[in-house]
Amino acid sequence: MITAGCDVGSLTSKAIIMNDNRIVAQELIRSQIKPAESAVAVMECALQKAGLTIQDINFCVGTGYGRDKIPFVQEAVSEITCHAMGARWLLPTVKTVIDIGGQDCKAMRIDKDGKIVKFITNDKCASGTGRFLEVMARIIGVSLDDLGGLSARAKAPITMANACTVWAQADVIQHLNDGIAAEDIGAGINNAMASRMAVLANNIGLERDLCMTGGVAKNVGVVAALEKLLGMTIKRIKKVDPQLVGAVGAALIAADKCERSAAS
């Protein structure tokens, strides 16, 4: 049985193709303006990698902020459900998932079946989301991928005075003008991001094991700072890119739906 998951986020679009619970292809692209076009583009790339056509997919589940615009899915499922399912499958001992995406952040507690017990989300304020890091990386002139590595090289991380992304931009420019090293500013940015997330996550009461999904999970500076703030190890997802966990969950839900419809 071949199933697919397609996660159309605000900044990136992801597709996973699975064959009997084994990942056969994966793809991640930058989202275009229209969610439908991003979905088609990322799925075509994944299908090509797998040597398949869309007709070979038995069931496809869409998720992410653009999930209702995806033309080829059989069903759309919320990204919270998909992240929980994906994380549970990748790390069976996980009870808490922290997901930081391009325009939102979430913390959720899940049961042994990957069902949501409690969750909290912020999509109202850019601070605390991937967008904060994106804006700050641009100002200090490093790529988003390199921002995380700055923390390890920092000698005296700055303390960010403002949480608001707009005010923090002015602060960072001031620090640059004062001649503060990029490493120290970058570490301060990663720490600020982590502390914002920690406040949100502590609201739902964390339970071990804890893992992180979404693009920001690849920022080692944020992950390390968050571990320190939460006093808990964050289990690393190694089987796939943490940014693809939502798409993995969608493909797993697709497999489940497919089995159910075959049985009935």
Binding site: K124, A126, V166
Partner: protein
């Protein structure tokens, strides 16, 4: 006797020179990075306009975010206190002041002397401050001063789904791409900022009359949007952006009166 008030804000610096009840001269300049230099520049220009030298000023009160750096002031007052004094001097029936500045927003409730009874303040989140309009005007490629005029042509103002400046900026860019009328977008921005201010006013349990101060009050679109959001007419005052500096000059007068 001659008094002065100097208000060094984040974006502009203002100075007012008064003789008893009369404004002799005033000036508004864009603030530089050093508050001390901005203060000196704006005061020099105001003195020149008045044909006076600093020696003629009996007392000068500094206010605004840069008030501690003003080299020539004799004392300092918070901008909240100054806005209260200034607004009641300009329009004696005013009991509530909405001040939207470049980097903060305040709702202030005052008594008949302009003494502060209660206030609310936001400088934590850029949304709700003048910076919101500044960033949006930039994104639309429109001068900040033109927003009010352009909003008059709105027929169907947009409703923004985002409050955060960062997210709202992306949202208005998509609205432009979707072909929405720019006037409707601007009117929607005014409405969003006005609603934000109105909720602060609601929290301090405002009394009539309401005045609007700060640079944003000069934007006619914002002025009307705030009237709509509050559901009451707003009392127009003559110098909304100078209001803090006027209040500072009034405090200067009180200081000399107390000493003599």
């Amino acid at each position: 006797m001659i008094f002065a008030g100097c208000d060094v804000g984040s974006l502009t610096a203002k100075a007012v020179i008064m003789e008893e009840e009369k404004i002799l001269a005033s000036e508004i300049i864009l603030a530089g990075t050093k508050p001390a230099l901005s203060a000196q520049e704006v005061m020099d220009k105001t003195l020149q306009k008045a044909g006076l030298s600093m020696g003629k000023i009996a007392w000068c009160v500094g206010t605004g975010y840069g008030r501690k750096q003003i080299p020539f002031s004799n004392s300092e007052e918070s901008e909240i206190a100054c806005h209260g004094r200034g607004a009641v001097w300009s329009a004696p029936a005013v009991r509530t002041i909405v001040d939207i500045g470049g980097q903060d927003a305040k709702a202030i409730k005052v008594d008949e002397q302009g003494n502060v009874i209660r206030y609310l303040y936001n400088d934590k989140c850029a949304s709700g401050t003048g910076r919101f309009l500044e960033i949006m005007a930039d994104a639309l490629g429109i001068a900040l001063d033109d927003l009010g005029k352009l909003a008059r042509n709105a027929t169907d103002p947009v409703t923004l789904s985002n409050q955060c400046v960062v997210f709202a900026e992306t949202e208005i860019i998509s609205l432009v791409n979707e072909g929405r009328n720019v006037a409707d977008i601007i009117a929607g921005l005014h409405r969003a900022l006005a609603n934000r201010a109105a909720s602060m006013v609601g929290s301090i349990v405002a009394d009539a009359e309401v005045a609007m101060t700060g640079g944003v009050a000069k934007n006619s679109g914002m002025f009307h949007a705030l009237e709509t959001a509050l559901g009451v007419p707003i009392r127009k005052i003559d110098h909304p952006q100078l209001n803090g500096a006027i209040g500072a000059a009034l405090f200067a007068r009180e200081a000399t009166a107390a000493r003599s």
